[in-house]
């Protein structure tokens, strides 16, 4: 699996010279499978740039096909859809997998953002490409090419956000953004989803100090992420979804503190990467 980060920021895009190195775009990650399938996780503003990069290939000719995994429908995870160029090209095919009681409910949620009060697109029906919406059933795997995908809802403030586990052969990539655990930490089901992940991408929105003051918002500190990585036996932790006010220098410090937290918690052998726009990882 080839992983690339297009947006790593939480809540709202954060432009400016202070965020040039890690990037200010909101959540979007692409995964290219060994079988050549394209998987997109979350549709923050990074999606626009992913879309533009796809245009020279099949997606520019209306022959592209991709699966989109949507963790939840908060703004910063869907605000790139209307600017994703391949979705306007007839012939391209997209299947979006997200969290809802039914596909039509999820489609209705996405429609609510496309309506003419908010978007000149008016409705998903104007997208051009085929856009199918499917509801993920917690814990029930589905397949995309050579990859088996399992989704499970994590607590996220007053709502939930799906975490996804992507497995290809003996390698696994877990995407766990936007999660705020209860005081006793991640549930057994959540840890089972993360178990022995080759790469665990985890929400590290805050420092522990900031997280304590904003606990109700449902995000993790790097301590929560380090704790989850050690408890699940992950081999590589990727930090993700930084607070919009954190500068590059702040994120550098967040990464150093996270390294220290891993070491202190007995995770000295866990590799650590702070996700940055443009960074690629091969699993």
């Amino acid at each position: 699996m080839q992983i690339r980060f297009w947006g790593v920021r939480g809540s709202i895009p954060a432009p400016g010279p202070d965020t040039n190195r890690y990037g200010g775009n909101t959540s979007c990650v692409s995964v290219t499978t060994a079988s050549g399938h394209q998987i997109i996780i979350d549709m923050g503003t990074g999606l626009m740039h992913l879309g533009n990069s796809l245009l020279p290939g099949d997606f520019g000719k209306g022959r592209g096909k991709a699966a989109i995994l949507l963790s939840h429908s908060h703004w910063d995870h869907i605000q790139g859809l209307g600017f994703f160029a391949p979705v306007f090209i007839p012939g391209n095919q997209f299947t979006l997998w997200g969290h809802a009681k039914s596909p039509s409910m999820l489609e209705g949620i996405l429609e609510g953002q496309m309506n003419p009060n908010f978007s000149p697109i008016y409705t998903l029906k104007n997208l051009g490409a085929t856009f199918e919406v499917k509801a993920v059933v917690a814990g029930v795997p589905f397949e995309i090419g050579s990859v088996k995908i399992t989704g499970r809802p994590n607590p996220h403030g007053s709502t939930t956000a799906l975490a996804f586990r992507l497995e290809e052969g003996d390698r696994s990539f877990v995407y766990a953004s936007d999660v705020g655990y209860p005081d006793d930490g991640p549930s057994a089901e959540t840890l089972a989803l993360y178990r022995d992940a080759t790469v665990l991408l985890h929400d590290t929105t805050y420092t522990p100090e900031h997280q304590t003051r904003r606990r109700n918002r449902g995000f993790s500190s790097y301590e929560d992420a380090a704790g989850a990585a050690v408890a699940a036996g992950a081999r590589h932790l990727v930090m993700f979804h930084y607070d919009q006010d954190y500068t590059d220098v702040d994120v550098d410090a967040l990464r150093d503190a996270c390294r220290e937290a891993l070491d202190r918690r007995g995770g000295g052998n866990i590799e650590l990467t702070a996700a940055a726009e443009g960074l690629e990882l091969e699993i």
Binding site: R9, S11, I12, P13, A14, P15, G16, P17, T19, N20, G23, G24, N25, T45, M48, N52, H72, S73, H74, W75, I78, Q79, G80, G82, F83, I109, G112, Q113, P116, N117, F118, S119, P120, Y122, T123, N126, G157, S158, T159, R217, G218, Q244, E277
Partner: protein, 325 residues
């Protein structure tokens, strides 16, 4: 950056205009936009000694909100007026991140065009609650009031005179003029020129051919709309205008509801404004490209002998309008 802490009674000499977000469509962080800025639409107008009048609530309003928290707003004694041109995402997506909302006692008055079918408050509320946003409007601590406007309305805000007229944009946008302290600014974004297509409530799937004749009733409606805009811009010290497109881009997408600098210059000439500010830059426009556009149109206006100055808005640009008070 100088602090913009603001309390009524500050001895500001004249009306100030500050740009907090100048980008159209979608925020674009990255090295290519460091100088002009990647935040979406937000302009702060501060008449002398009065509360701020904010136009549009794109992502730029986040930093504006923070700057206000140095002053009366941090004590819950602030008042802000927010004029919304229209509710497309890039003009409202920063609103829930406006810090003064989270302090009890602050008062925020939001103004936007009246809808045919939905109360303005419902439009905003639907965006800021589950499943789109974790903090519903109803839970914000400030006192927030929504005011619906009809184009052509003229009203007073804390001593400033506000005028508005409608624009040519999908689902209809509103232009605003603010007169205070003997100075005036017009905010005209978003709008298509008034020549090739009438943009109202219908979704237009196929772009019309630029330059082909329009049915007389449509042409007349557009001409009336433009006349009202020119009349509202008459003699303004500053005209801020949607110039998202180059002429080539406009020919491909005349139905998207954006103008070129040529359209803005034509309105500026007819209305006799003192300064024209290019605004609502295209998301993929790099700083270097925007520099080139500015130079090109500055030269054009100099050669034509236009009396007004041409600027391109960038984050942090602050303009002082009117005569010394």
């Amino acid at each position: 950056m100088a602090s913009l802490a603001f309390t009524p009674g500050d001895n500001l000499l004249r009306m100030k205009v500050r740009f907090w977000g100048v980008r159209g469509s979608i925020p674009v962080p990255g090295r290519q936009t460091n100088r002009y800025g990647g935040n979406t639409s937000c302009v702060e107008v501060r008449p002398r000694g009065r509360w701020p009048i904010i136009i549009d609530a794109g992502t730029g309003i986040r930093r504006l909100g923070k700057s206000l928290m140095d002053g009366a707003f941090s004590e819950g004694a602030g008042v802000a007026h927010v004029l919304i041109s229209h509710t497309h995402w890039d003009h409202i997506q920063g609103l829930p991140f406006f810090a003064p909302f989270y302090t009890r006692g602050n008062r925020v008055h939001v103004f936007a065009r009246q809808r045919e079918d939905t109360h303005l408050q419902a439009v905003f509320a639907s965006q800021t609650e589950d499943p789109y946003f974790p903090v519903p409007l109803s839970s914000l601590r400030a006192d927030i009031q929504f005011n619906e406007l009809v184009e052509g309305t003229c009203f007073q805000l804390d001593g400033a005179k506000i005028t508005c007229t409608r624009l040519n944009h999908p689902w209809i946008a509103m232009a605003y003029r603010i007169d205070a302290d003997g100075a005036s600014v017009v905010y005209c974004s978003d709008t298509a020129p008034f020549s090739d297509v009438l943009l109202e409530h219908e979704f237009i799937k196929t772009p019309p051919t630029v330059g082909s004749p329009l049915p007389p009733t449509v042409a007349e409606k557009l001409a009336t709309m433009r006349e009202a805009l020119v009349a509202m811009c008459r003699g303004a010290d500053l005209l801020i205008y949607d110039t998202q497109f180059t002429p080539d881009e406009y020919r491909q997408r005349p139905h998207w509801g954006h103008s070129t600098p040529d359209d803005a210059i034509a309105v500026a000439r007819e209305a006799g404004v003192a300064q024209l500010c290019l605004y609502h830059h295209a998301p993929m426009r790099t700083d270097e490209q925007q520099d080139a556009i500015l130079v090109q149109y500055r030269d054009l206006c100099v050669r034509a002998g236009d009396p007004f100055e041409v600027l391109a808005a960038y984050e942090g640009l602050e303009l002082v309008l009117g005569d010394d008070g």
